[in-house]
Amino acid sequence: MQLRFTEADEHFRAQVADWLSDNLSGEFSAIRHRGGPGDEHVYLTERKAWEQRLADGGWTCIGWPEAWGGRDATIEQQVIFNEEYARAGGPGRVGHIGETLTGPTLLAFGSEVQKERYLPGIRNGKELWCQGYSEPGAGSDLAAVRTRAAFHEASGQWQITGQKVWTSLAHESDYVFVLARTDPAETTHRGLGFFLVPMAQPGVTIRPIKQLTGTAEFNEVFFDGALCAADDIVGEPGDGWKVAMGLLGFERGVSTLGQQMLFQTELDEIVRIAKANGSARDPALRQRIAEAHIGLRTLRYNSLRMLSGGDDGSLSREAMIYKLCWSSWHRNLGKLAMDVLGPDAELLDGEPYALNRLQSLFLFTRADTIYGGTNQIQRNIIAERALGMPREPRGQI
């Protein structure tokens, strides 16, 4: 068991930190610390330009194979990159869906043609992706998607019809990957397909969803006979669920330590305010601040265990608890921020609804325990897969 990084890894860390401090300046100074969760709608032009700056420096897709423009970076190097990126205040990545979800999915399941067609655009930071998974009737029960994909013999293309929801960055994206039903006779995880669909076409309509924060990161996306080339299905019709589940596996892991750096800056701000306004002398708040600190460190060592685990791709116990752990921690941090602010928590920065960072944290973290699998679904997963307890029965409605 070895807690510290090697000298070579620390050298890599210095290289990343140097590049970021050289480049995250000048025109990009304004976007430092911006564009994270709850703030994804801001500075889009600048963040797209930043994506290309990163790509030019060779800092996109570093975990990809060299053959596709990556660095074949080790897990440790990817962790270090994410840590340094967050430490430097690197803005929320507009390219993260393509880099962390589409790319790995195509590398694992895609055809050579699909890789040739899509990986370079993701790697050079020029083509952005969004995801089309959840539907109004398919949230926790993702396999219940109703969006249909029918092969249109005359045009030789797939036609997609249905509605997706909670799609962030839809209006900025060039492509969306869509989980859709290829076999209309099926209603479960069988008979699904995984499609790569261009956004700029008449059959695609985007409608923003205004949230409790007053901002709109998420969208509804309507497909009305949207077209998708015959060879833009990943795998075969019927393979959709396998591909989609593989993709969810790529979501975990190396980015968690970067996420924690972001959390640390939030906790640091709360500690700073507590010292300044006297909350630091309140015994009940002292307990909660200490608990938050311990909780964040726990997330770190949970992640390190998860990343050091077996290379067989199976979900370890640490990985299964991770979502439940961080989402609950972050939601509690939002409430702690309000309590440390005290009466001032109620006052806005301005009209019409200008939230400060901690107010936004408080409101938006209510989403953390819902998206990506609610806390209740996470507990089911832990109980069933880690503890071997009986599976939930399916209803008949």
Partner: protein
């Protein structure tokens, strides 16, 4: 960075699991609880003579295995899972105490004895109301070639089974460390009946005990005492994780068999979600345990600061203390009526969890330590 056990460490864990499942059965634990010493002496002979566990953190040049805190927590977690009635925690604490004075020939002799399975306990406090130096109620005064010790020490783990006692005693505003034989004139060792009957404790009364100068191992031992207590908290954390894991395992097994309304109660979400919460706490405490053990090893190698060790021990004690109590308490609830019977083991884990939760500080006291580090430090940029 490789935050997982090595192959050798995994083998150690496996052999500990196998050995204890054979010899530290529920029946053996209950038999030891009812015996005068509260200890399973045959088990102790085996784990010392065949497994060499008391020798784990003893340096090689004192006849030990020369391993570290990570190996110690691997074994202690398994002892915690079984409530094994053997004083390995007490003896490992003594090893760590003696390592702080390892240049002393008397200490080196004791380390060799520990490696061979002699029971040696550390008495350091009366814990009224606090642990450590604050609660220390034995004083030492030098008189010519001798030291005179007087006062009381409580919560001495395995104290009435120990062949030698290490006693920390006040000298002025600090403390020293002394070696005593239990037969010393003026010393009374009494077993203290405990709520958790699987972990015997003793009380020492000292009235003018005279000790030769050679048996003073250190006259200036207060910062070392802090260190030893922090390292002990890491060992306690291992037993707590084991206790929490066993509470979870036994509860999951029970609810998988218990049928009500025509289905196993394990199939109810209300039960599943409680079990999931238990696992979350076990695994979180386990992550901090691994971290704290690594920091402990770095401390022993001289590469971690005292503050890092204090922080790691306090984080672990807070997390593992809560985890063990939550899991054992929830375990009783999941067992339903049988959970409060003498027959089922979950009540034994509940008592152990309570005992360990307050040993060397409650979880909220440890959080206050963390709060102090975070909130009371004067900012260097503000100064």
């Amino acid at each position: 960075m490789k935050f997982s056990f090595t192959d050798e460490q995994l083998m150690l864990r496996e052999s500990a699991e196998g050995f204890l499942s054979e010899y530290a059965t529920s029946a053996a634990v209950r038999q030891a609880m009812a015996s005068p010493s509260g200890t399973d002496e045959a088990l102790w002979q085996r784990l010392a003579g065949e497994m060499y566990w008391p020798a784990i953190v003893v340096p090689e040049d004192c006849g030990g295995l020369g391993l570290g805190m990570v190996e110690a927590i691997i074994v202690l977690e398994q002892l915690g899972r079984r409530l094994a009635p053997a004083p390995l925690l007490a003896c490992t604490q003594s090893v760590l105490a003696l390592r702080t004075v390892a240049e002393n020939p008397g200490a080196r002799a004791l380390l060799s004895q520990l490696a061979q399975g002699q029971i040696i306990s550390l008495a350091h406090t009366a814990a009224r109301p606090h642990w450590g130096l604050e609660g220390m109620a034995v004083s030492a005064v030098q008189q010519g070639q001798h030291w005179r010790l007087a006062g009381e020490a409580r919560f001495v783990p395995a104290g009435d089974n120990a062949g030698t006692l290490l006693v920390a005693a006040r000298i002025g505003s600090g403390c020293g460390l002394f070696k005593l034989s239990p037969g010393e004139s003026g010393l009374t060792v009494t077993k203290s009946p405990t709520l958790d009957q699987t972990r015997p404790m003793a009380t020492l009364q000292l009235s003018g005990v005279e000790i030769s100068e050679a048996d003073c191992l250190s006259e200036c031992w207060s910062s070392q005492l802090d260190t030893v207590l922090n390292l002990t908290r890491v060992l306690v954390g291992a037993e707590q994780v084991g206790c929490a894991q066993a509470s979870l395992d036994q509860s999951v097994a029970y609810v998988g068999e218990r049928v009500q309304f025509g289905r196993t109660i394990a199939s109810y979400q209300a039960i599943k979600h409680k079990a999931a919460d238990m696992m979350l706490k076990v695994e979180s405490a386990r992550s901090l345990l691994c971290y704290a053990a690594c920091v402990g090893d770095e401390w022993l190698q001289g590469s971690a600061s005292a503050q890092e060790l204090t922080e790691a021990a306090a984080m672990l004690a807070s997390s593992a203390g809560d985890a063990a109590f939550f899991c054992a308490g929830t375990g009783i609830q999941l067992h339903g009526g049988v959970g409060i019977t003498e027959e089922y083991d979950i009540q034994l884990f509940f008592k152990r969890a309570r005992a360990m939760e307050s040993y060397l500080g409650r979880p909220d006291e440890h959080r206050e330590v963390i709060a102090g580090l975070l909130l009371d430090k004067v900012d260097s940029d503000a100064a």
